[in-house]
Symmetry: C2
Subunit: 212 residues, 2 copies
DNA sequence: TGCTATCTTGACCAAATGGTCAAGATATCT
DNA sequence: AGATATCTTGACCATTTGGTCAAGATAGCA
């Protein structure tokens, strides 16, 4: 029962650390190469372990992919926290946009893996999309409808409002190279993300009659 | 010189037809499987020809991919036609959004191939992004700036306005399965696209102080 | 201190896939 | 009609890659 004090890792710690290393490497490789383009060999190398060791923790590439995706889906459900009926619409929406934009800046690989999955027809997450995600969005859409009915924001289709918000924020993670190229930069920096978030907030808030 | 009247195809016609069949099949397969996931065998089957015949017209998978991409890039440059200084901003933007949304509805495979290319770092089109596309966007951004300076629309960062417009319209092609799932449908129908276009137009036009 | 369960890894394999080849078919030009 | 360039296709090959195996190493436990 007593854990050892030396630099000797416990079995549990070994497992935890290796799984974490593999998931992190896998997210990066799946993001940049896609599912088919990614090889378990490259993921293993990036994780700093031999390939058979990777297959010891994740039997198949598909299983590893599912594990990566599960992590990402969990993130997704959190972001909408600020959208509640009691909130001030302008604050709530600004905060939501900030949160999504921060996610694009800090977890670009996660966003890309998810985007890639959707792009190819969501074979692995269709259930999630039509289940937990649909319920959450339907729920939040009701909040928006409440705001509209109370005259607190201008009329809009709540579902499509969310689609536009997702698109406008995630584009800065998924298609960062396009945005950087068009802006004449090598890479996007934090200031670019701030400017992007401000632009999106301004457009959306004015678009809902909440500013100016 | 005289072309034949019978059902005998001329060499030129054969080439044209086969190239077209291959490009169409390739666009669909690249869109749904990505570059690595696509196989020349599947593309050939979908085009209705044997695999070696495909390789007769396109030496390598990469060459075929480039050809597909070139077709798509040509489409891209056209869409901004309505954004000109003399136009009424509301009309021009509404028309641009309509055009992009129509493109998402009628050419979803093209949009997806492009999205996939960007997602993976744009290895094949980086030159285009920083070249022709950047010049076009810089140009159109000047038009937007002119409208702002003249007080015809509310202030906004013109480049980021374009990024949001692209994202908001292309999301309906690239991530259609997510949108359909969240809306509780099997597939998006024309009415959904109309509603989407209207929502985006409304948000953007109000966001630029052009409505209500 | 042994015994067991977990972890590690070099060597290996079967299947998939991009691409080739060479022989035959078809249109075109003289 | 004959010669030639273009097109077609079954058979084939080298490489890549997901995954296995079996033997050895290491931590946990009685």
């Amino acid at each position: 029962m007593r854990p050892q004090r030396k630099a000797v890792a416990s079995k549990q710690a070994i497992r935890q650390e290796n799984v974490a290393k593999i998931l992190e490497a896998a997210e990066a490789v799946f993001a940049t190469k896609g599912f088919s383009g990614a090889t378990t060999g490259e993921i293993a190398t990036r994780a700093g372990i031999p390939k058979p060791n990777l297959h010891y923790y994740f039997r198949t590439k598909a299983a590893l992919y599912r594990a990566v995706l599960d992590d990402i889906l969990a993130l997704w459900l959190d972001a909408t926290a600020s959208i509640v009926a009691e909130a001030e619409p302008a604050d709530a929406l600004r905060r939501y946009i900030e949160a999504k934009m921060a996610y694009s800046r800090t977890r670009p690989f996660a966003s890309k893996v998810f985007a890639n999955e959707l792009l190819h027809g969501a074979p692995a997450v269709k259930g999630f999309l039509g289940g937990a995600m649909k319920r959450l969005v339907d729920d939040k859409a009701k909040v928006i409808e409440g705001w509209i009915a109370a005259g607190r924001i201008a009329p809009i289709d709540p579902h499509h409002l969310f689609f536009v918000l997702w698109a406008a924020t995630q584009t800065y993670a998924d298609f960062d190279c396009q945005i950087a190229a068009v802006l004449g930069k090598k890479k996007l920096n934090p200031v670019d993300y701030d400017r992007a978030g401000e632009t999106v907030s301004t457009l959306i808030l004015r678009g809902l009659g909440l500013k100016g």
